[in-house]
Symmetry: C2
Subunit: 617 residues, 2 copies
């Protein structure tokens, strides 16, 4: 409860927003409710439901492999899955999710790790598939809670993790273990080896978790490189090799499996970008995600080859390119990069600007350019702008505004809906079918997607011959068990805690859902503070009650409403006070909340949060 | 300004959110700022900028045709365009726009009609192209302001307008004039005739406004019915006929012109739906927009033909079908409609449910079904659900939740991304080119779309031979003038007022943007009320100051922060009060706002709205 902390507190929360008069409160019970000056003494919150739930989960039995997704199976994002066998737990990924309007003022949602915290002595390592934030973003928030296990990651992922960690002060040093593509790591009674997958960032990996009962494959995010629907030979070789082993279970990416056919290959996006870079007459501005590092490297290398200069702008773009440079992933293109201040020294047709903000993000480079607030980049009608990304749901209006303002200044705009300048990093339906066919697992668990996508993925697995009883569609916190002896898959009735854990990027600690609920109420109907001073001798309200309101109605044009409300506040307060000594402040406030709430709703059809302040003098 | 109305007011608004201490306020100026008990006396708001702007627009000259879009050219929605010639003005459409997160708690945005209000004696009529809300939704809000001019509309549009009007009490009766397809109406010195266009609702019309200098064509929203990119003969005939006249200017729909080729024809959507209706084994639930009335009529008629029964559910769906029935647009299918209570009397494979809520709208039928809150419709794994609509930007997560919850209950889901069960009502690029070619206007004004879309539409017009100087891309409020003698098009420097006018569906009157700004601030960072009682004799704060906060941080876990804040409030208040007699409340409050604002930001990186209440006893 996020009760207002006023002088007189202890409000019945159930009655907070109801407008019918409490029946059983009369003057005679004033000593029962009483007055408490500081009711917020409960320093230690009561045990959460989830914790109780978590504690009652039976210990794992012999020959059982537990698979528990803590995130990523009821959303696209906050990916995290744990694998438990005997005394060992390994965790794969620790990502964040960017929430939308449903949680205003919240930056990220992270996985609920209660189950792991209760078993942290068993955790042998956190394995990272690739360096995107929906796979590594939660590390600074969860790593301590997990007891700081070693993190196993490829070099690039490790660099991204370290970079992010450095932005959080006072966190302990990470126990980082760089792994190579062909390495096989022994962790307790399990082994983990890696295989390269095609995604949109270098060094993206799938994991093969070796158990005495067979391999569990966690593919990470991936798509299949292909030509006209025929997977390229390197994909065929890799998947054939893995497919020949004893694959007990496959967990793989569902993000795009409801899209028919094969996705557009990144290679062809590259070819299209090359053609545009070569043929564009004026200056070229390319907006894309800083996380699409393969494409960014390709653009820089291509610019170098074609004798063009590249300006890098935007913090995340600069950081990511610097990491790629440090690790030697970007070599030949380096000479083409010039500082933005030298842009004017080159003819426009030789200049490419790589910029952030293709999503219409408020403070990113492209939006500043669109709003004519960028120090160096001014648009003219010889400029061409490529928005080389899809639009993340929720950003449509921001992107529309961006396109409007850029085109208003004369720029020509190319975007993915009208030209093939973007492709997704996730397998489409026919790619997903091919992956399942090649890896030929006994059991299948679709992950990385909303529930509906997992359902579609299940149907694809069935089309490849897997039977219904060998497939489990998980929820966050579901405990899936594979019995290695009986060769069966099932789920426990008990679930691991899987609440929504919200965090602010800059603030400390978690954001409680009651705070978010209040924000949403404030956002639509605003708030209404009533200040009434009661003369303790007469029981009357002194002067006219004060009203403070924001986000509700336009007060200057609502004088009648305010005057009526003041009269009603006075009357309601005095009626409620009656002959009470001492005054039961909770009762008075509840009366005000109900009466004024009802009145304002009748008058305006709005339900502002009503906060009465009662003082006695 | 939406100032808090406290006992002591008159706050310098410029300083409201700034945290640096005002330098020039000292004890000696207390009489200058003074205290005012009721500063909201300004009953009559000052003239808005726009009104001043509007008044200084020169009167229209001889042989000039003015074209002014008041909405629909910087957004998709709130369409309204005025045509002025001599002493006559005709207005086309009066639509609303559904705003997104940028304006929480606001239901609609309507066009700014100030220019028209100042010239209402010239208005000869409001002409309606078709019955969608982005064309008729603002009528209840603007009709009185325009002096209640006659409304010219086809029968169906008139029925929708009357239905909507009936939901607003106390509005005067509309002067409704039903027009026929072939009618030609004389309005002052202008004539208006109609032509049928293909859209998604019956009786959609384009308008031909006859002037002494040639025709102005306002196409309304439209697409072209075609087979494999060849317009059907009825389209060719209609457009050939109109194209043969003297077409001075064309205004037409830009909504989809950046999509390549021809759009998917509604006829083929119908064929696909027919196939699904025929072949689906279990019960079929079709969710679509109630506004796609042509498709709804088709579905009902097809059900009848195939011997199926149709259940209609959802208020807007029922209302629209009832209107279609009353007007005789739905005849043969009527027998197939059954009440929802009789659904169980028929085998599931014979039942089709037509429902609202394909956008994931919180209280519509499909969401209630998905949440297992629908009284009659319970999903089972023999059900098939078609989402026969596109997703309106901003609704993606709602639709995702809908699909998740419906598929979780076992339903098979078909949606427009995986099957051709929806098409848009707006012309794609090649359709737009064909329209311009056929109508062959001298001047071109793209309308109905965001600025970027209008730019794209301009390029299409240029590809059809129009020259740059014959095309004007308008903004809302831009006054375009065609000189009938000189045969030129230009725009006035002065613009008509074109502010954002926000209204609540249920509340009375407009929503001010300051209220919306406050709502947005409240939504992300919450609010923080400080109540300090000053002892007038000592100048000290009595007891510990009270704090009420919502939507900011979780107070129960922020005891230290609150205690520190209380101390700081006490200190700041007492320092500010100093030896003042009487106390300068504005100065004290400003000090609190700055000091506490700064402190809270340092501690939490949040900027709640800070509202000090200072009382003296």
């Amino acid at each position: 409860m996020n009760e207002p902390e006023t002088m007189h507190k202890k409000i019945n929360p159930a009655r907070r927003h109801s407008y019918h008069r409490p029946k059983n409160i009369s003057h005679s019970n004033k000593n029962i409710i009483g007055r408490t000056r500081h009711p917020l003494q409960a320093k230690r919150p009561p045990l959460r439901n989830e914790e109780k739930r978590g504690s009652s989960i039976p210990p794992i039995e012999k020959d059982i492999i537990r698979i528990i997704p803590f995130g990523g199976v009821e959303e696209v994002g906050k990916n995290m899955t744990a694998f438990e066998y005997g005394d060992d737990i390994i965790v794969v990924d620790a990502g964040i999710y960017f929430p939308g309007d449903e949680t205003p003022g919240v930056d990220y949602v992270i996985p609920d790790t209660t189950y792991l915290e209760e078993r942290k002595s068993k955790i042998r390592g956190l394995f990272i598939t690739h360096a995107h934030l929906d796979h590594i973003g939660a590390i600074p928030y969860v790593q301590e809670k997990l007891g700081n296990p070693p993190i196993y990651a490829r070099k690039l992922s490790a660099a991204f993790i370290q970079k992010r960690q450095s932005e959080f002060l006072h966190l302990p040093k990470l126990d980082m273990r760089i792994v190579e593509r062909e390495e096989k790591i022994k962790v307790g009674s399990l082994t983990v080896s890696f295989f390269a997958v095609t995604h949109t960032i270098p060094e993206a990996m799938g994991l093969i978790i070796g158990t005495p009962h067979g391999n569990i494959i966690h593919s990470g995010d991936l798509k299949i490189d292909h030509k006209d629907g025929e997977p390229l030979s390197f994909e065929v070789e890799e998947f054939t090799k893995i497919g020949n082993e004893n694959n007990l279970c496959l967990l793989t990416d569902s993000t795009n499996v409801d899209r028919p056919g094969f996705g557009f290959p990144e290679r062809e996006v590259h070819e299209n970008l090359r053609k545009i870079i070569k043929e564009t007459k004026g200056r070229l501005i390319i907006g894309t995600f800083a996380s699409l590092l393969e494409r960014i490297i390709y653009i820089i290398n291509t610019a170098e080859e074609l004798g063009k200069k590249v300006v890098i702008d935007g913090r995340s773009m600069k950081v990511n390119i610097e990491i790629a440079r440090e690790l030697g992933l970007l070599k030949k293109g380096l000479k083409s990069i010039i500082p933005i201040t030298e842009m004017e020294n080159h003819p426009p047709e030789n200049v490419i600007i790589l910029a952030t903000g293709a999503q219409g993000d408020a403070y990113a480079v492209l939006m500043r350019v669109a709003n004519k607030q960028h120090k160096y980049i001014k648009i003219n009608n010889h400029d061409t702008i490529i928005l080389s990304s899809s639009i993340i749901p929720g950003n449509e209006r921001g992107v529309q505004k961006l396109k409007d303002n850029l085109s208003r200044q004369g720029a020509k705009i190319l975007h993915y809906a009208i030209a093939d300048v973007h492709s997704s990093g996730h397998a489409y339906k026919d790619e997903a079918a091919w992956i399942i066919k090649m890896l030929n697992p006994k059991f299948f668990i679709p992950i990385h997607g909303y529930h509906y996508m997992l359902r579609v993925h299940k149907a694809i697995a069935e089309s490849q011959g897997l039977s219904d009883k060998n497939i489990v569609i998980p929820d966050n916190g579901m405990i899936v068990e594979i019995d290695g002896q009986k060769q069966t898959i099932s789920q426990l009735k008990k679930r691991a805690p899987a609440g929504i854990v919200m965090v602010d990027a800059l603030g400390q600690g978690n954001v409680k859902d009651v705070v978010v609920r209040d924000r949403k109420a404030l956002a639509t109907d605003g708030m209404f503070v009533i200040v009434a001073v009661i003369d303790i001798k007469t029981g009357k309200v002194r002067k006219s009650p004060d009203i403070i309101s924001r986000g509700f109605v336009y007060l200057k044009e609502s004088q009648d409403l305010l005057n009526q409300t003041r009269l009603l506040v006075k009357k309601t307060t005095e009626n409620a006070v009656g002959e009470m000594h001492p005054i039961n402040f909770d009762y008075v406030k509840n009366s005000l909340r109900e009466t004024i709430g009802k009145f304002l709703y009748q008058q305006t059809k709005k339900r502002p949060i009503i906060l009465p302040v009662i003082l006695e003098v």
